[in-house]
Symmetry: C2
């Protein structure tokens, strides 16, 4: 395909007329499509239904340690569920604590605790003049919403295909004691699908923070969410690496079953050092009587172990893979070589990120909307919703049907061409 | 029975020898009993088992409004569960929000939000020099643990059989802007089993707080937990009364199904004004993706409505009533008229409170422990664990079997006599 960069003004004009025609045709169809939501499809949710049979009125409701899951007690989770999540995270069960639905809630609460009570005896952040946070971009909008809500100043750190720019991370973290954390989605990152390289993980684990209470928020949200098997998504174990580096307390790792079992009824987990867990429990034991132990039991009995989870995740992959490939094939067919942007082919996770020419993302999303395709808002994957280049678009292929996705991806490609041509012709 | 107050020193001495003998006999039995835990018994938990069959792999997982409970979304709860909890609390469903397991968690989070973000635009409490809280005593130890953890200064307010001393509450709340809240368990209070009188509720609703962000934390933990039917536990509706009084935003009401369905897998709810709920949601929407909607559906489908809940609660009452009556009969038989303390006969809830002569509670609990009966620690129902009179003992009859309870109650009565006689003979 000829790149727009090599076209004459006349050629561009002609291409634009052509693209406008195609766009109008799509617009005329009056479609209503949505590629904005990183939600599992109903078909994927059906995969979790069997789990609901595992616990019924005939079940033995005792956990392995004899505790009655129906009653009060046991703050940090029943042993079999701790073991399950520990196996998935490749850590020791005593370094794991189980929570309720929504790992976001566990992250928010971690920040809230740090604000009010401080981290391991350090000054509560609410008593400080300024708290700052590193935000690899593009990233997960709801992470940024948490730090924004607490009034924490967010600093963008660019992502590459190896993870965050570690030169920048090292320099900032070691020089500024106001920097208290960094958001990381290290595997199949939201939204790019990047897996942090071994070097990135090692450099992360070897940080020398100026702040004693600096913590890496390692949101391993897509830890088992492979599209092409676990081998493609190999990620070094941050807990081990931090321990080796003499920084055992520098990381909290988060995981959940939201996109494994049921997004509306999952369990969340935190893995960290004993010191960090003890510090956390000092408050959590005051905060709650305990999280839902029956749902913990349901998950442990259904999945049994990490192998059971991985087997289950293959079924998710079988549903997701064709959707990803349809979108990626459409991008390849319609946009490769046009000089109208770039994208990474993810090996897992829930998103594809399309990077337009600078200044085109908002316009692409507007055009798509007017042709009946809702995309995630421009700027969403950035702190304060500000994409400095107005070029990043998050595509979420999981929820629509293949039929819907076919139209949506084609319309998207046309909108990219449209906006790019508009820009080039204005120049 | 002759009161100790009318006995001569010799009579007391003889009685003491007699009681010591009985005590030694019990001690010799080597029993291991526990009246400390306000937990449902296994028999009660069995009542909730049917609920676990309501949702299975064949279920329609859509809520009334068509939302798929298995997926993300819907922050404030599915309509049928909001309606269920609204019916129980006798409020409108739009004034209700549903949370996960543990209503304590919702209360803790409410205080945490107020600390960090402030209440309805007022100064965040963490920016204030001093925050104070009213604590009707005796009260629920975990309430006091929350306010203590946040460094909030707690002020004791004595309870009577009508509820908290409202003269004191009115004076303090109207004069001191540092007072931001009051803990209330208005029905079958923990631990006395007191139901707030209509006058108490009306005076509470008509408070004229010095602080705009003063809130009543109305923990209706035992809202349907009747021992002798709902009629005995009639409580005025605080939400209505606050609205009538022109104080619609002054109260948060909390409830949960912890001791209705399963303590280890229940749902919690908050009822409040739209303004308060909106203020809360501003943060909760950042905090979480959402609470467990499948468990909400399970509860709504199983109980259907408030009548369904009340019917279910009668089965709990049938199990609890004999336990309460056994303990109360033992107190009547062994202690009435002895001048060795007082107690209230509760009509619901989970506890009986025994009030010894001043300075005897710690000793009774020590004696009981040495005879094999674990009681809730002395001071537990008071802020900072300090019972100013060392006289209040919380008895929890729900968990032990009737056989265990028979021994435990008798041993308790002997210990009360023992400690009382010790005290009188020392005087």
């Amino acid at each position: 395909m000829q790149s727009y960069a090599t076209m004459s003004k006349e050629e561009l004009q002609q291409e634009f007329e052509n693209v406008k025609k195609i766009y109008k045709e799509y617009q005329g169809k009056g479609l209503k499509l949505d590629m904005s939501r990183g939600k599992p499809s109903p078909q994927q949710l059906d995969l979790g239904m069997e789990m609901l049979d595992v616990i019924n009125s005939n079940s033995d409701m005792k956990a392995e340690n004899g505790i009655d899951t129906r009653n009060y007690g046991l703050l940090d989770g029943i042993p079999e569920t701790k073991r399950l999540m520990a196996e998935i995270m490749e850590v020791s069960p005593e370094n794991v604590m189980i929570f309720g639905n929504s790992s976001l809630n566990t992250m928010f609460d971690m920040v809230a605790r740090s604000m009010i009570f401080g981290v391991c005896g350090e000054t509560p952040w609410c008593k400080l003049d300024k708290v700052k946070w590193l935000c690899p971009v593009p990233g997960y909008d709801r992470h940024f919403a948490v730090t924004e809500h607490f009034g924490i100043e967010m600093i963008n750190v660019p992502m590459s295909e190896d993870g965050p720019d570690m030169d920048m991370v090292e320099e900032l973290v070691s020089s500024d004691p106001a920097i208290k954390g960094i958001w990381c989605v290290p595997k199949y990152s939201n939204p790019q699908g990047v897996v942090y390289s071994d070097e990135t993980v090692r450099r992360m684990a070897n940080l020398k923070p100026a702040a004693k209470d600096f913590r890496i928020y390692w949101d391993n949200a897509y830890i088992v969410h492979h599209l092409y098997g676990a081998e493609q998504g190999k990620l070094l174990n941050i807990i081990d690496e931090c321990a080796k580096a003499g920084n055992p307390d520098m990381v909290y790792e988060f995981a959940s079953t939201s996109k494994v079992s049921l997004a509306g009824s999952g369990i969340a987990a935190i893995a960290s050092s004993t010191k960090n867990l003890d510090d956390m429990k000092r408050t959590v034991t005051i905060q709650t009587i305990g999280f839902d132990k029956v749902n913990m039991l349901r998950h442990a009995r259904y999945f049994q172990n990490a192998a059971g989870v991985l087997e289950h995740m293959e079924k998710h992959a079988d549903i997701l893979r064709p959707r990803f490939e349809l979108v990626l094939d459409t991008l390849d067919r319609e946009l490769a070589g046009r000089g109208a942007g770039e994208w990474i082919k993810p090996k897992g996770g829930y998103f594809i990120t399309y990077v337009t020419l600078d200044g085109c993302a908002t316009e692409v999303i507007r055009l798509a909307k007017e042709a009946g395709v809702v995309m995630t808002g421009a700027g969403a994957p950035f702190p304060y919703h500000k994409d400095p280049h107005d070029s990043t678009i998050r595509i979420a292929p999981s929820y629509p049907s293949l039929e819907e996705l076919k139209d949506a991806a084609e319309i998207f490609a046309v909108c990219v061409r449209y906006a790019t041509l508009e820009k080039l012709l204005q120049a």
